[in-house]
């Protein structure tokens, strides 16, 4: 059935491929920016990931005016303020985020403060509370999973008040996402696996949940195909630049898909598990994905069945009777997880994580039912349903 109404928006320029980093000085100059600040974390610094970016600026006779490398694993208001101060002290005029989800969210927060002035981030919290475009903002992802380089949202914690501030505004979207395979070549195997499963979940939920639309479907299915064709290959050949680029593009495409069609129950339970048991987001996504698809199958089995083509290829799709395709698609995801477990020990059940107590399941279910993404899930889930899914995922 055709979609009765939808909206799609992605103004982010994608700068992708070999030597993509070398395009940054030109792209910044095109926006009139001459004094960018890099925001990153210690891990990026230690792994020498800034080296090619710094070299790209030197060769182009451009300057990086400041580098803030103290972003913690969870973004915080205090960090945002400290980075904004450094930006102002150095009279910067643009931001380049180099890192994963926390670095990108922090950078979005910094861009609000340096563009709007002041130190009060809370004033801009919520939906569409930014009045005008912000400073030029580029993102160079160093993982292939979050998709934050193309989303209009950020979550920043105020650790002093113990609150999480959500921000949603089109003005938070970067001007450019720079995907260069050099940035993900040193990712350890389990992080590569976990982040790719995060991207796969973004794409699968974007395709199977209520807000899917024809354009997000195109991005989602292309992302699924790239991940299923390249993830295991990259684990076997971690330095392969083409394979790394394919995963980076898949992550961005999945990000474009889910930022327009949102995500569902896998994310609701995953967010809740992160809050209760501090389970890493990508791991939670990988873990819950097949169980939630099984839960949804009687409501949107036709959409899940479509995914078999992108997960397993045309031959498997054609050889599988139509009524068996949805279950087969879930089985392919399960097989993928088994392979990842063999190669990287990426857990498949809550028990295997060793980080979650069975006694915490009720609390996780209670938190998940209030998560904003649950509304987009095609099938209504009550507390009893969530507990049943968690029991299955326990293993």
């Amino acid at each position: 059935m055709s979609k009765s109404y939808y909206e799609f928006f992605c103004p982010v320029k994608v700068v992708a491929g070999h030597m993509a980093l070398e395009h940054i000085p030109f792209e910044l100059a095109a926006l009139g920016a001459k004094r960018p600040m890099i925001i990153t974390d210690k891990g990026v610094r230690v792994n020498n990931l800034l080296v090619p970016i710094e070299a790209a600026f030197i060769d182009a006779e451009s300057v990086i005016s400041a580098i803030f490398d103290e972003v913690p694993p969870d973004s915080s208001l205090q960090t945002v303020r400290a980075a904004a101060q450094l930006y102002r002290e150095n009279n910067c005029d643009a931001i380049i985020a180099v890192g994963g989800g926390s670095v990108i969210d922090t950078s979005k927060g910094v861009n609000i403060l340096v563009s709007e002035g002041g130190d009060d981030l809370l004033k801009y919290s919520g939906a569409h509370n930014l009045p005008r475009p912000l400073k030029p903002f580029f993102v160079v992802p160093t993982t292939a999973g979050t998709g934050s380089e193309v989303t209009a949202v950020a979550v920043i914690s105020d650790t002093e008040k113990s609150i999480k501030m959500p921000f949603a505004s089109y003005y938070l979207m970067p001007n450019a996402a720079v995907l260069d395979p050099r940035m993900t070549q040193t990712l350890p195997p389990h992080i590569t696996a976990m982040t790719a499963m995060d991207a796969l979940t973004h794409a699968v939920e974007a395709y199977t949940c209520l807000a899917h639309n024809p354009i997000s479907d195109a991005y989602a299915t292309a992302a699924i195909k790239k991940i299923s064709e390249n993830l295991i290959f990259v684990l076997d050949n971690p330095k392969d630049a083409n394979g790394r680029l394919e995963l980076a593009q898949a992550s961005t495409m999945a990000g474009i898909a889910f930022s327009n069609s949102m995500v569902g129950l896998v994310h609701s339970i995953g967010h809740a598990t992160g809050a209760v048991a501090h389970l890493p987001h990508g791991l939670a996504m990988s873990l819950y994905l097949p169980y939630v698809l099984e839960y949804n199958i009687d409501t949107n089995g036709d959409r899940i069945a479509d995914l078999l083509l992108y997960l397993a290829g045309a031959e498997v799709y054609a050889a599988t009777p139509a009524k068996e395709r949805a279950l087969k698609a879930i089985q392919v995801i399960r097989n993928m997880r088994d392979t990842l477990y063999d190669r990287t020990k990426l857990p498949r059940t809550l028990q295997e994580t060793g980080k979650v107590e069975k006694s915490q399941l009720a609390e996780i279910a209670k938190k998940a039912i209030d998560d904003g993404s649950i509304i987009y899930n095609p099938k209504e889930a009550n507390l009893k349903d969530l507990k049943a899914i968690l029991e299955k995922a326990w293993g």
């Binding site: 209520l210 807000a211 649950i374 509304i375």
Partner: protein, 203 residues
């Protein structure tokens, strides 16, 4: 080729939105009263309200300044209608256009699907928004015939028996009707005041 607009179609275009506006205004008023009533008699809905902090104010409005209602969660986790004046509610669910609100309140599009179709903007805690949508779903399951409720909610509650549905719907409808009846003396008083003012002015 020049395109002439038909006066009939333009008249129709004017009448349809006014009818929609009137319908949406009435339905939002009824929904607000029904929510207040259901919060006192339905355990399921009351349970959902347990998740809100006492004092939380929730507004539903058609942009820019159309039909609206605001309710507040009380200490005992029942609901009360309030007027916030210029104060910002804790949670605001804003329909972008009266036609979008009409789709929801005429049960052509479920609240969740309307949310997914970007028919509305939510300002406030998304967890509260999710809970509020469940409150609306439960109310619709209670007060609408099952055939209509099936269109309005993602999944009709299987545990809601016909006897319970009938009893609770009857109570809610009686309370809503009663709340309108309470308005009658006030309306009469207002009308007589207006008339007497006019009489004084004339004399």
């Amino acid at each position: 080729m020049s395109v002439k607009s038909s006066p009939i179609s333009s008249t129709t275009q004017r009448i349809v939105p006014s009818a929609q506006k009137a319908y949406v205004g009435l339905m939002m008023d009824v929904i607000a009263r029904a929510l207040v009533s259901a919060s006192q008699i339905d355990g399921e809905l009351h349970g959902e309200l347990e998740g809100f902090k006492a004092g939380t104010t929730i507004q539903m409005i058609v942009l820019p300044k159309g039909a609206n209602f605001t309710i507040q969660v009380q200490e005992d986790k029942t609901l009360k209608r309030v007027d916030l004046g210029d104060q910002k509610p804790d949670l605001s669910v804003k329909f972008k256009h009266v036609s979008h609100a009409f789709l929801v309140f005429s049960f052509q599009e479920s609240t969740a699907q309307a949310y997914a179709n970007d028919r509305m903007v939510v300002d406030g805690d998304t967890g509260y928004a999710t809970r509020f949508v469940r409150c609306l779903n439960q109310l619709e399951a209670l007060i609408l015939p099952k055939l209509v409720a099936d269109l309005a909610v993602k999944r009709y509650p299987t545990e809601l028996g016909i006897g319970e549905k009938f009893n609770k719907a009857a109570q809610i409808y009686l309370n809503v009707a009663g709340s309108y009846a309470e308005l009658l003396p006030k309306a009469a008083q207002l009308l007589s005041q207006t008339l007497s003012n006019k009489t004084i002015k004339r004399s």
